[in-house]
Structures are given as C-alpha cells and as structure tokens.
Symmetry: C2
Subunit: 346 residues, 2 copies
C-alpha cells in the first residue's frame, strides 16, 4: 500500500498525545460565507494612560505598577487559582471533585505598550526568556505547586483583553490533563527505546527538512506532522532538555532569536498582528524525575485564510476530533516563503 | 475533610472522558475589557432567494434543491470526507497516517428560512428526530462507515455560514477520539458494576434535582456536574439505550419536546438566538455490541455573560485543560429560572 495519501482525506497520529487529527486537503477550495473578524491591528502609542499594564499606572485593585524598564511580573488581580485554598476532596457517588491550589501571574514583556514579540529587540526577548526561567524555578519550588503553565494569549480573537505585550503563568497543585497525556507517551517510548520520543522525531524532521520554518544551532521551529491549527508551530531545543531552567545563556539567546524570527513570519503571513495562543510544555515541578521529557513551546494560531477569516473548531471538532484542510506541508511551505523582515519595516 | 468546595477553586472529574475541569467560582466578578461579539440575530424572511439551503434554490455546484416541505438531507457540497478514497496507511518512522473514508451530509431542519429549533413546532422537530434516526441507520449500514456523527453548529460565532436552520452529519470509517475516550470509561464501569455509567449518574441527578433544566417521562436535560462550557447541557434518555435508532414513536416526541423546551430557555437567557454546537454521542456502527453505552446529546454554547461576551477557551485551556468561572449549579439555577415561553412570543 504505497499511496501518497497527502492529497486525499486522511488522519495523522499525534505521537505526543496519542490522538488523531483529520486532514481534508481536497477541501481548500471551499468558499467562505461565514463570520469574518475585524482586523484589530491598531496603531498603538508607546504609553497608554488607560492601560492597566503600562508602567506607573494604577490597576483596578488600586495597586500601582512600578516604573518598570524590564519584564515585570505580578500576581493576577483576577486569579483563577488561589494559594491559600484548603486541600480537600469531595466525592458523592459519581460526582467527584477536589480543591485546586495555585498562583496566577501576569508577565509584562516590555514597558512599551506599542510592542509585540516580533517588534521587540532580540535582547529584550532574551529578558522575557530569563523571566520565564526565573518564574518557573520560583513558582515550581513553592509548596503545593507541581506544575507551572507559561502561556500567552495574543489578540482580541484569542480572548486577550489588553494589547499591552504580556503573557500569563498559571501554576498549580495538580498535573493538567494535557501534560498527563504527553507524559504517558514520553514514558512509554522511553521505557521501550531508552530514547526521547520528541528527540527522535526532531531528528527525522531535521533530515526531512520539509516542515522546518526557522532553525539555529540550538533550536528548531517546525509545523508538526500532526498539526491541528492551520499554521501551528512547535519550537523545541535540539538538545534533550526537560525544562527551560536548563537553558544556558547562549541557548536563551538562541531561543529568543527563534521566537523573533517565527513571530515575524507570522505577522507577515496576513500582514496583521498575528493572533495565537502559545504555551510551554515542560516537566512538572513535583520533584520527580522525568528523564523522558523533552520540553517544547507550541503556537496555536486561529487564522486560516486572511486576517479576518479563522478556522472554527466547533461541531465535528468538539464531538469527534480536530479537522484541518491544508496539510502541514502546505502550511510549512507558505511560512517558509515569507520574508524574515517584518512587513511594517519593509 | 468536609469542606464545601463549591465556592473555592476546585477541579471536577468527567466520568465519561476521564478528564478534569478547573472551576474558579470566586472569579465571576472579574470585569470584562476584551472582545465582544456582534449580536447577530437579524430578522429573517421565511424565504431567502440568496440562501443555498432554501427550497428550490440552486447551490454553488449547480444542483437545485427540491421544493421540500419536510427535513431535507443531501451530500455536503464541500465534504471533508469522501467515500471513494482508497484504504491505505503510511508510516515513516514517527510519522504515521492513514486514509479516512466517509460521507458528509447536510440536514435542513425546515424549509422555512426564518426558523430555528426553539421556534419550530414540536411536531416538526419530531420530523428532524426521525431524519436523524433514518440517516444514522442508512449511513451506519454502509460499508466502511463505522461511526456517524450528528451535529449542529448554530450561529455565526460557531462557524455557521448560513442561518437557514440546518445541521450536519459526518460519518466515517474510524472511531473518533471523543467516542473512544467515552467507550473506555463506559466499558470499565460496565465490566466492574454490570451497570451503565451514565444511567447510574442520571439516577443520582434525578434524585439530587439540582442540575435538572427540563424533564419529561422519557428524557432529562441537565447541566452535567463536570460541565465545561458556561451553560453546557446534556440531554439523555432515562431508559438505557445505545443509539437513537432505539427510540419508539412516543420517545421521539418526548425528545422533540425536550429539544424545544431547552432551546427556548437558551434563547431566553440573553434574549438572542443562542449560539451553540450540539452533537449526539452514540455507539459506533461497526457491528460490534456496546451494551455499556448510553447515548446522549450535548450542547456546548460559548456565551458567558451576554449575547456579546463569550468564554474563550484559549491559552490555559489549550495547554493545560478547560476552565470555567460559574459552577454547574449556578448555571443550572439561572436556566431553571427562565421562562418556558420564547421571548419573541411573550
Ligand atoms: O461545514 P461548515 O459549516 O462550512 O464548517 C463549519 O463546521 C465544520 C464542522 O464542525 C468545521 O470544520 C468548520 O471549521 C466550520 O466552519
Ligand atoms: O485571564 P484573561 O486574559 O482575562 O482571560 C483569558 O485567558 C484565560 C486563560 O487562558 C481564559 O480562561 C479566559 O477565558 C480568557 O479570556
């Protein structure tokens, strides 16, 4: 059976989660009559007196931001998780619950309200990387904090309520579902092959050279073979590392460089400030060893055809499983062909 | 440990998928400064000459709809799945794919362009139920069709590109991820208890009476204890049934009644044509027996606070797991208190 199945409906297997995604490459010619989004890329000032993340401004709690010059972190004023909750479980027949304990923080990437990662200087992105490292170590060493989720929601379409460049960190007692799924597959492969699942996959990608978008000595950014979102990307270190705390200075810079290059490509794709959710998956901070893990950062961007037409993950996707139209290879080719210079600076 | 954990951050366990959801009830007071949606509930005509689903109109393929008076189904003009694909697999190291085979259909609920389920007569909704039954049986009996996913995307916010009342059916060779997850938990419970997981849970709900929204002799609609979406609902038959093909005439009517009552409550919640994705989960059509399964229909509506403010399932949700602010009990109470008469008819 040697059909090239890439041009007909097929499913691809996600080796990290054990789940399949449906790919319908013949369907890219479908006309779009549905909802379009507003292209919300406004010209921004470097300082906005009404922004609760800008230096020196007062937040809704009455707290005042310092006049920060470097990345600035603080406890989320509307934290979904609290550190002083009791530890308790509640079981009533088939209804099972337990308290969750955690700390939610906001990370301002820059004092400059007008910036985003692709528009920041590489050395300033390096400072963001250092901040993530510091928070991962500090939060992770606290009692009852067994997992630290670093993420960014960028753009109004991704539920981001403030355009000031910032991300979030939610850290918690329990290990989240998505991490448990991946841990299971990393572990099974490690036990069987004494080798890293993601590391071995990256070797294949580095040889195939088909889905690589940006690369440097220490990192590679690829459209994973099993990508769900149209222009989904995974950044991973070439070295087998379990968490970002293991990055040395040179690797921090290399990571920042990849982040900048990738997000410039993203902005250039539809000449818009490209929305996405990004997040880092790495090992729990519960003190156990996870030699099988290979940390990585993923970008899930919703846009499909233009700055205003997104992919909806709805009916079929919610009840059956994810579906996409363009293949990972088509997406990779489109991204590869884009300029490395930001469209606003061309 | 007898804390009432419902007012503090906690996780609830979904017995059907084995996954947890994070609930942050203290956070409902958070102000919203983010994206708002347009309330797209336009006054609609009963016939729209530009609508490709209205009776007698010509679709983009050149096919002409018959002058149908009852629910009308046809093969999706832009099917994500095709029935004549070859069966093939492709494995290259850690890259694994296989062809998918299937049939995608569109189900027009009514010839009347202006309607939606809550505005339709109960006897016309019964005809939709009969159509679902017929399609489930017909598609399911075809070679290579092992699962039939019936769903509806309602509203532009849910990626629906045409307001004409309609749903979809995607049927396919492989068993989708979400079905496999549930099958696993149904089976484990059945083997251990010789009893139905969902049936036993429903008994608990029928006794607790806390999360029931609508009920009749044959059906109950509840906000499940582990609801993810703010106003998520599950409709299930009280009798232990594996699929909708087992509904008798009386049960078909009872199902239609529940559908109408529930969707009226939904429209009344924010006085808007309430958007959602709904879908029926039932047994595969691969010929195997699944005595452990109990079919059910779920509604995943995105709106959170008003017709224009939705819940975003983004960063944390994508990388860690689902999160909600209001508890299932709060959502149930709000829905319970709503009128049974549609706001447009009050
Ligand atoms: O087939 P439609 O209505 O054009 O498309 C809609 O439903 C599909 C099935 O849930 C999704 O894959 C699409 O993203 C969505 O826009
Ligand atoms: O905390 P924010 O930015 O107000 O909220 C945003 O991110 C959270 C974490 O992904 C989500 O739970 C919210 O739905 C979203 O609006």
């Amino acid at each position: 059976m040697s059909h090239d199945i890439n041009s007909i409906p097929h499913r691809r297997y996600n080796i990290l989660t054990g789940e399949w995604i449906l790919c319908s490459p013949h369907r890219t010619k479908r006309p779009w009559q549905g909802k379009t989004e507003k292209d919300t890329t406004p010209k921004k000032e470097t300082y906005d007196p009404g922004c609760y993340l800008c230096p020196g401004n007062t937040r809704s709690t009455g707290d005042k931001n310092p006049d920060y010059k470097e990345p600035y972190t603080f406890i989320n004023d509307f934290s979904a998780l609290l550190i002083d909750s009791p530890v308790a479980t509640q079981e009533n027949g088939l209804m099972k619950a337990e308290t969750e304990i955690g700390i939610c923080k906001v990370v301002c990437f820059s004092p400059d309200h007008s910036l985003t990662l692709p528009l920041m200087e590489e050395e300033d992105i390096t400072k963001v990387v250092k901040t993530w490292k510091k928070e991962y170590a500090e939060l992770g060493s606290q009692e009852n904090i067994n997992y630290v989720q670093i993420f960014e929601n960028k753009g109004a379409i991704m539920g981001c309520s403030n355009p000031h460049p910032h991300g979030q960190i939610w850290s918690q007692m329990s290990i989240p579902t998505e991490i448990e799924k991946k841990s299971k597959h990393f572990k099974e492969y490690w036990d069987k092959n004494q080798s890293s699942l993601l590391g071995d996959y990256l070797k294949q990608e580095l040889e195939a050279k088909e889905r690589i978008i940006v690369e440097n000595e220490h990192f590679v950014a690829i459209v994973p073979y099993w990508a769900v979102w149209p222009y989904e990307i995974m950044i991973a270190p070439k070295k087998h590392q379990q968490h970002i705390g293991q990055l040395n200075e040179e690797e921090e810079k290399a990571f920042a460089e990849i982040l900048k290059k990738l997000t410039i490509k993203y902005d250039n794709l539809f000449e818009t400030s490209f929305p996405y959710s990004s997040g880092i998956h790495q090992i729990p901070t519960d003190g156990a060893e996870y030699p099988e893990w290979h940390w990585h950062m993923s970008f899930y961007p919703p846009l499909l055809r233009s700055a205003t037409v997104k992919k909806f993950m709805v009916g079929y996707e919610m009840f059956a499983g994810p579906q996409r139209d363009i293949t990972a290879e088509q997406a990779a080719q489109t991204l590869q062909n884009l300029s490395d210079i930001h469209y606003l600076k061309q």
